[in-house]
């Protein structure tokens, strides 16, 4: 690959809202985009530390989200508690296996893979890895794109609770896993947003002309 110049090497700040480039001043403090007034940063501030903190918090909450009951169904036949996984198994056994696959993927696999991917991205950036730059950028893009679909189970619970309110016949209540699971989704989304993919490419670039812009 031919050596190409990045905005940081050229001492230019790229506005994350409108894409306007502006020269980085030598001063400190908040710099704003001359065109849209958005705050400018050479890299997202405290990107790695924030990503680590949010990802670890999500990893911890992933455990109760999967072990605690997601919902409690009370009917004439008694009451039954369901975790995310037992909900998937119920869908599978009742014959709607495409839907079981969708729920399994969105609620179990996506959050797990997302947490692993974020840990890998943060760790490789921290080690200044120069390997697989394009693949890691693609991974980041995928994490950002797919994260929202984990909200699926939260919405399913909302509707089940709201619809199944037949007093005496059947009622459904949300369980504690719903809160933990919602937190996992929100935390991983914030973690992906706070990660700056440009950090992946920084090891192969030269130093910035001004050295007062921390990026980690």
């Amino acid at each position: 690959m031919t050596r190409q110049l990045t905005a940081r090497e050229a001492g230019l700040l790229n506005c994350h809202v409108c894409g306007q480039l502006s020269r980085a001043g030598a001063g400190h403090g908040l710099v704003r985009c001359p065109r849209c007034r958005a705050p400018l940063h050479m890299r997202k501030p405290a990107s790695l530390a924030t990503t680590w903190a949010l990802t670890l918090a999500a990893a911890i909450l992933y455990v109760p989200a999967n072990l605690l009951p997601m919902m409690t169904t009370a009917s004439l036949l008694g009451s039954q508690e369901d975790t995310i996984m037992s909900g998937v198994i119920f869908l599978w056994q009742s014959g709607s296996w495409p839907l079981a696959a969708v729920v399994f993927f969105a609620s179990v696999m996506v959050p797990l893979l997302k947490i692993i991917a974020l840990i890998y991205l943060a760790a490789s950036v921290q080690r200044h890895s120069r390997l697989r730059l394009i693949q890691r950028t693609r991974l980041y893009r995928m994490v950002e794109f797919v994260g929202r679909w984990s909200m699926l189970d939260i919405y399913v619970i909302t509707l089940l609770v709201a619809l199944v309110q037949f007093q005496g016949l059947a009622t459904i209540q949300a369980g504690p896993a719903a809160v933990a699971f919602g937190a996992v989704v929100v935390l991983t989304m914030f973690a992906a947003m706070s990660f700056d993919p440009r950090l992946i490419w920084d090891p192969i670039a030269g130093p910035a002309p001004s050295d007062d812009h921390r990026h980690d």
Binding site: T6, R37, L99, I154, V156, A170, G182
Partner: protein
Amino acid sequence: MPAPDAHLSLPATLIACHECDLLQTEPRLAPGETARCARCGAFLARNPPDSLDRTLALTCTAAVLYVLANIYPLVGLEMQGRQVQVTLASALHILWQDGMAPVAALVGVTTLLFPLLELAMILIVLVPLRLGRVSPRLAPFFRLVRSVKPWGMVEVFLLGMLVSLVKLSHLATVILGTAFWAMAALIVVLTFAARAFDTRLVWQTPVAEPAP
């Protein structure tokens, strides 16, 4: 507070990739073409034909569908002669009463509040632009559109509705409400609106002009 140097000193076509920071010149795009980063393949810009008019038309349609999706019942259940119907707001209310306030808040923000904010902000930015009135005061609204966008999840909600209905179809008769179809249409319209929206329109207007 130090101000960055005037941006006019840089060539207008010079841009940097948001994902790998590579400097490159933005190619002139024919209508319908998309520019991607030469190094990492990230999306840089698109030139949708007739962007302003189409985005405005689709956003107005979306606003009407949004209202329909919120005032009519989404889905209903019939079980042994008893019928239950829920709107989005009543579903949130039940969940809140059920002691699941954080979950209800999360659902409300992602399906009610943020889609509404996004639609409102797009209209606030684009209507003056269409009327030829450009003001740098619009910039904060557009920044709000960008920060709110990832949190509007109407399409995930629709899939969630389908999953819950399949789960319930063994238990009771499922009735799809007006709002269900309005929401399905809303997702299609929002997708087309996002594709039609050339964000550069907001910025390619001369902002250096001081307000009179």
